[in-house]
């Protein structure tokens, strides 16, 4: 299991990147009562049978690691949602992409910490790959949006320690306005 909700978010977006998606949308909506996350991609998608098997921790499609027989990303998420009485929905269509959404009651006693959203947003913006990612973040009526292509254009690249540090500073300034 992951230690924070921020880790689950990175994991789900990383799955979308690995599905060869060109466009990914991440929404993180927070109120005093709920934290809701949606990840939508236009990657390779899954058949109903593959999606059903992806819920099984002892199944992996073997595409990336032929020697591996477990896949823990989706099972981890399902276990989290079940443990806090949340809701989740996974919709996928081969060739058209996947949409993963979940909503968690923040006051539940078994709710993990939300974690560092700034680091998570910086992380999902800086994976290897030629994907576009739009991040929409809201908290109690305040919101911001960041786009990977715009940030890449401004920073020229997103890999170097210098660019990463500036990107984190930028995301922190957006996030702090939600908490002001």
């Amino acid at each position: 299991m992951h230690e924070s909700i921020a880790d689950y978010i990175v994991d789900v977006v990383q799955n979308a990147i690995e599905s060869t998606a060109g466009n990914i949308e991440l929404e993180i909506r927070e109120t005093d009562a709920f934290l809701s996350v949606l990840v939508r991609d236009d990657g390779r998608g899954m058949t109903p049978e593959t999606l059903s098997r992806a819920r099984d921790p002892f199944y992996s499609d073997g595409i990336k690691h032929p020697e591996r027989s477990v896949g823990l990303g989706i099972p981890f998420l399902l276990q989290l949602v079940a443990s806090v009485g949340g809701e989740q929905r996974i919709f996928s269509e081969p060739g058209n992409g996947t949409e993963v959404s979940f909503s968690l009651p923040v006051a539940h006693i078994d709710m993990p910490p939300i974690g560092d959203i700034c680091t998570a947003v910086t992380s999902v913006l800086t994976f290897d790959g030629a994907y576009e990612l739009t991040v929409f973040r809201s908290r109690n009526g305040r919101e911001y949006t960041v786009r990977r292509s715009e940030l890449r254009s401004v920073l020229e690249e997103l890999e170097s320690v210098g660019a990463r540090t500036l990107l984190l500073e930028y995301v922190r300034s957006q996030e702090e306005c939600l908490h002001a």
Partner: protein, 132 residues
């Protein structure tokens, strides 16, 4: 802190870029690649990544590329990290905690010596060849 605009970010980047260009250009070809698949994240790869960025920043190595990829297929040794430094063998390190990440920066990147006890992949022949 006021909300930073993209224009302000661009100006900040231009200022830093001038500083970076004055430093050693060969650092641009150093790559630290952190496995951030499910097992890596669960094992603490986020802390590992942050430690690399912080330690490299502390030593002024802001041109070094710190990249994120999915799992490297060495789940038993997460967090895993590939390190590419010119004139040294490419190495995959395993069980890289934040402390080990800082050690890799000091010993491997700066000191040009391998952190042998954490090497999990890549043939020893490379090391022998590299030392001839």
């Amino acid at each position: 802190m006021a909300k930073m605009t993209l224009d302000e970010l661009r100006k900040l980047r231009e200022t830093k870029k001038i500083e970076m260009d004055m430093r050693s250009p060969e650092n641009k070809s150093i790559h630290i690649i952190v496995g951030m698949g499910t097992s890596g994240i669960a094992a603490g790869a986020k802390q590992t990544l942050n430690a690399f960025v912080e330690e490299l920043n502390e030593h002024g190595l802001t041109e070094v590329a710190v990249r994120q990829v999915g799992g490297m297929g060495l789940d038993h040794a997460e967090p895993t990290v590939e390190v590419r430094v010119p004139d040294m063998p490419t190495v995959i390190y395993g069980r890289v905690s934040a402390d080990i990440a800082r050690k890799i920066v000091r010993k491997h990147v700066l000191g040009k010596q391998l952190v042998n006890e954490h090497i999990f992949d890549r043939p020893a022949a490379d090391i022998v060849e590299g030392n001839r």
